[in-house]
């Protein structure tokens, strides 16, 4: 029963699109209500499944899915000519990422309530994007995984192109093409994975039982890892992110930074590192060197920017760099930290972009030099932004602190000088993060208020709800990290043992 419900996670959004197709596009409020209802339904469903998984315990996983500890596991033949299966399942890591996605999608639907243009198409695209992200976090078959993974490119471009602001064509193309470049790097290696494995299978579960030939791993691992890292904006493939985010409408920025960038990190962990651990040990130290840009220089670039979305994009780049630091550490604590950071940063950046979008809707500018004193008029949104900022600089009490401290401890445990140096630099860079966040908050929220802002009104109930839910999630992980960390630890234990920790 539960595993059937599990499949509904991606079917409901798709079904919503089909159900809304016959409704004429001028009935906007009806359409929006249906989409909001569907988003809420999925959120409740994922919440229920997460709770089920928590009460059952990770250990009670389906025996078919060994060595992975997957619940709700299901594997049926799909495309015979390719030997692809419809194979889905979730362990602790997947279910939390799914929960994160459900929250962000729900919030994304609510914040786009007043988007300009053809709303019917926009909400249909959001639901399609949601389908693709849910699919990525559910699928355990590489063809299915890739189908969902690449599907996002289609929705992303149309949403940015049709509903974005500023240089939307440039930003949208840059984003879509860079992501497509990443996914074609992945696709190029997948065929090798299938034929070189010797068992002719696309199943992550099956492939994890064997050791892939070393000469294949040596060329495929860097390609695949970088392919996934493109969507997590690892240097030198970070350039799409600032332009893409700034051109995108609020909901797309939230989804892109909140969940889509996690898809890359998740793929690095679940596919690249898990299936090719031998090559990972050889190649990952080089990745650490790349991280100097992400975690150390990222905050400095953010410091120089005036556009709120650019600042947040560079802040995301630096936070995602930390995920890679945790992955590259290859220690249990580091991996736990990386997984926690994926989830924590999703909520964090969702909150960031949501408040920025709401402020932008009122002030019609994102340039912090033009703003000032808006705390007086928009106290609620101002506080929301400050909370997101504090969570972002890793203040204890919020989820960011838990994740980052785990990553730093894990990375420092690794017995390599370069990793330790990068770790120390990364810890120091938190200071820079604090500087740009406080400086932004100060310029935007305090000081003299331009006269044109005198008529601004604070958040309405819908917007308050979004902010409150996101802040609650951040605080819950920050204050009670134990249960989530335990579930993650158990879930990634098979990855540790495969890597040989």
């Amino acid at each position: 029963m539960d595993s059937l419900l599990f499949n509904l996670i991606w079917i409901i959004p798709l079904f919503t699109v089909l159900a809304c197709a016959p409704i004429p596009s001028h009935k906007e409020s009806l359409l929006k209500t249906i989409h909001a209802f569907s988003g809420t339904l999925v959120l409740l469903l994922v919440g229920y499944l997460t709770y089920r998984l928590y009460t059952l315990g990770i250990d009670s996983a389906s025996a078919d899915s060994a060595p992975l500890l997957l619940h709700y596991y299901m594997d049926i033949p799909w495309i015979h000519t390719l030997n692809a299966h419809y194979s889905v399942g979730a362990d602790g890591l997947n279910i939390f990422l799914l929960f994160l996605t459900a929250v962000i999608v729900w919030a994304g639907i609510l914040v786009s309530w007043n988007i300009k243009g053809n709303q019917k198409v926009f909400f249909a695209l959001i639901q399609l994007l949601a389908t693709s992200v849910y699919g990525v976090f559910m699928s355990m078959d590489l063809v299915l995984f890739f189908v969902f993974y690449e599907m996002e490119a289609l929705c992303m471009y149309l949403m940015i192109a049709g509903y974005g602001s500023g240089r939307k064509d440039y930003g949208g193309k840059k984003l879509t093409l860079t992501l497509a470049f990443g996914s074609s790097m992945i696709l190029a290696t997948l065929f090798g994975l299938y034929f070189e494995s010797g068992i002719n299978s696309w199943s992550i579960v099956e492939l994890s039982k064997i050791t892939l030939p070393m000469d294949y791993q040596m060329w495929a691992f860097p390609l695949m890892f970088m392919g996934f890292a493109v969507s997590s904006s690892l240097f030198p493939f970070h350039f799409w992110s600032p332009d893409g985010h700034s051109a995108a409408p609020t909901a797309v920025s939230m989804l892109a930074a909140g969940v889509m960038m996690k898809m890359g990190a998740y793929g690095c962990l679940r596919v690249a590192m898990f299936l090719m651990p031998e090559a990972a040990k050889i190649w990952l130290p080089y990745v650490v060197a790349l991280l100097i840009f992400n975690v150390v220089l990222g905050p400095f670039i953010a410091l120089r920017h005036k556009d709120l979305k650019y600042i947040t994009a560079y802040s995301s780049i630096s936070h995602l760099g930390l995920i890679f630091l945790g992955l590259a550490a290859m220690t249990p604590v580091g991996l736990r930290g990386a997984s926690l950071q994926m989830i924590s940063h999703g909520f964090l950046t969702g909150l960031f972009f949501a408040t920025i979008g709401m402020i932008y809707e009122r002030t019609h500018t994102r340039d912090i030099t033009e703003m000032g004193g808006i705390m007086r008029k928009l106290p609620f949104l101002g506080v929301g932004f400050v909370i997101a900022g504090f969570a972002g600089l890793g203040l204890p009490g919020f989820s960011g602190f838990i994740a980052e401290s785990n990553i730093f401890i894990g990375a420092f445990q690794q017995d390599s000088t370069i990793t330790r140096i990068v770790t120390v630099l990364a810890i120091l860079s938190i200071t820079t993060t604090a500087v740009y966040i406080l400086q932004t908050a100060n310029r935007m929220l305090h000081g003299n208020m331009p006269a044109k802002y005198a008529t601004l009104t604070d958040a309405c109930f819908r917007e308050k709800l979004v902010v409150v839910v996101l802040v609650t999630c951040l605080l819950l992980i920050g204050v009670f990290p134990g249960w989530i960390a335990d579930m993650l630890d158990q879930s990634i234990a098979p990855i540790f043992s495969k890597i040989g920790l």
Partner: protein, 478 residues
């Protein structure tokens, strides 16, 4: 007593069919829609009959010793029939508004008859068991295309394109014949089986020359690098339905020719030919993609896009027979549907406006459904999941990779990013650019709406539910 086996009934019907359609002109006026209706009924009937043919097991069946029908042949026939049916649907729009003062429906009977002949040529290619029939099939498929390309004979560009096409095509035919004659010289027989045995027994320079010329000849028809240069001009000069038929039927026939050749007489040396095929595939898709980058006229753009698609199809020829044939047939179905969808949309644009990217401006505001259909067609051609084009390309790459050609597969996959760029360029015109006031409004008939809706759904369903299309292959043996 000579009896006709039931599996050749569709072929014979198709052979008779042009005479029926053209003959119907004797009994109806020039403006009558009767020929078009007869054309529809006939093509759809043949398509249904093809589906009723019981599956052959293994080797297939023979009819008068040189007519051979196997499962690959039946599926290729279905692809060709789908293309013919969609082609005459598209032609209806063209003939409804035919230019230069001609009445509506003028000479549509001849048009349909010519399409039927071209399709029959394709049937012959996939049924041939000896070089003579093989060559005849290719010519029957090609010569009607020359006539079709010159359909609009008063049009300066149309005539220029047709002249170019016929000259290039004749040279290609000469290459082809030269190759065949050397192959005959090498093997001493025109029968495929005998050639295959001779090739398996050992190779000689004679054989390599033959292979080179055969590939060069078919390279013209399949628009492979460096023989693709005619395509953009002809695609642009010919009437829209002809361009669509050219890009699907003609390409399908040419690729069927290669499949028959590579997995028939040349099967023993497939491994030695593989680097050559990979080179042709790689250069063709790269050149096609590069060429498309800077185009702003819709049909020229589609020409380069279809050149690139030919390169992608070639990748599949590197694999073993069954995988490659599955991949190619699936891809051709998908390609036919996506390409026709694009041409239906461009046809509507072309009736009211100039056929350039600029005419697409503001489409998403004026006709949102048309803009969505366009995006679906383009993303499918670009190979973005969950649309059909992705699974088509995935099958092709799967086939290529199954024999370890990861290099060319990786090259093709990375090239896809280039392809995505220009497809996005077109989508951008429709979705982002503001409309111009001087653009004529677009009008669609109910039938056009219906066909575009049908094809859009087909692209989505063929992709999103590949297990449906999978059933096409259930029980077939290649």
């Amino acid at each position: 007593m000579f009896s006709i086996p039931n599996f050749v009934i569709p072929d014979l019907l198709l052979l008779l069919f042009p005479f029926i359609v053209i003959g119907s002109r004797l009994f109806c006026t020039d403006r009558s829609k009767a020929p078009w209706r007869i054309g529809n009924i006939g093509f759809i009937l043949i398509f249904i009959l093809l589906n009723l043919i019981p599956l052959a097991s293994g080797a297939g069946r023979f009819f008068i010793t040189n007519w051979h029908i196997d499962d690959f042949g039946v599926l290729m026939r279905e692809v060709l029939m789908v293309s013919a049916i969609l082609g005459i649907w598209l032609a209806k729009d063209y003939f409804d508004h035919s230019g230069d003062g001609k009445p509506a429906m003028h000479q549509i009977a001849e048009f349909i008859g010519t399409v039927a002949f071209a399709t029959f040529g394709g049937f012959t290619v996939v049924s041939a068991c000896d070089m003579l029939t093989f060559f005849l099939g290719l010519e029957i498929a090609t010569i009607p295309m020359y006539a079709l390309a010159a359909w609009n004979k008063r049009d300066q560009y149309g005539s220029e394109a047709a002249t170019k096409y016929i000259l290039m095509g004749s040279v290609a035919t000469a290459f082809e014949l030269f190759g065949f004659s050397y192959l005959y010289g090498f093997a001493g027989s025109i029968h495929f089986e005998a050639i295959q045995q001779a090739v398996a027994a050992g190779t000689s320079p004679l054989l390599w020359i033959a292979v080179l010329f055969l590939f060069a000849g078919i390279g013209f028809k399949l628009t492979l690098f460096p023989f693709y240069t005619w395509a953009p001009d002809v695609y642009e000069g010919a009437p829209t339905p002809v361009t669509a038929i050219l890009s699907v039927t003609s390409k399908a026939t040419a690729i069927a020719f290669l499949v028959v050749l590579v997995y028939g007489p040349l099967a023993p040396i497939q491994e030695q030919v593989a680097p050559f095929i990979a080179l042709l595939a790689g250069t063709t898709l790269f050149v096609g993609n590069l060429g498309a980058l800077k185009q702003f006229r819709l049909r020229r753009f589609m020409a380069y896009s279809s050149i690139a698609q030919a390169g992608y199809i070639m990748v599949a020829l590197l694999g073993p027979a069954a995988t490659a044939k599955t991949a190619i047939i699936y891809y051709l179905f998908v390609y036919a549907v996506s390409n026709y969808l694009a041409f239906f949309i461009f046809g509507i644009i072309g009736h009211h406006r100039e056929e350039t990217f600029n005419s697409l401006r503001g489409l998403s505001k004026q006709k949102p459904m048309l803009a969505i259909a366009l995006a679906v067609a383009m993303f499918s051609l670009a190979g973005i999941p969950p649309l059909a084009g992705f699974f088509g390309k995935f099958h092709l790459f799967f086939s290529g990779a199954s024999t370890g050609h990861y290099g060319i597969v990786a090259f093709a996959v990375l090239n896809n990013v280039l392809a995505l760029y220009y497809y996005l360029q077109l989508i951008k015109s429709a979705w982002i650019d503001e409309t111009d006031d001087h653009l004529n409004p677009l009008r669609m008939t109910k039938r056009q709406r219906g066909v575009i809706g049908l094809l859009t759904v087909a692209v989505i369903v063929l992709g999103a539910l590949p297990f449906l299309s999978d059933n096409i292959f259930a029980g077939f043996t290649f």
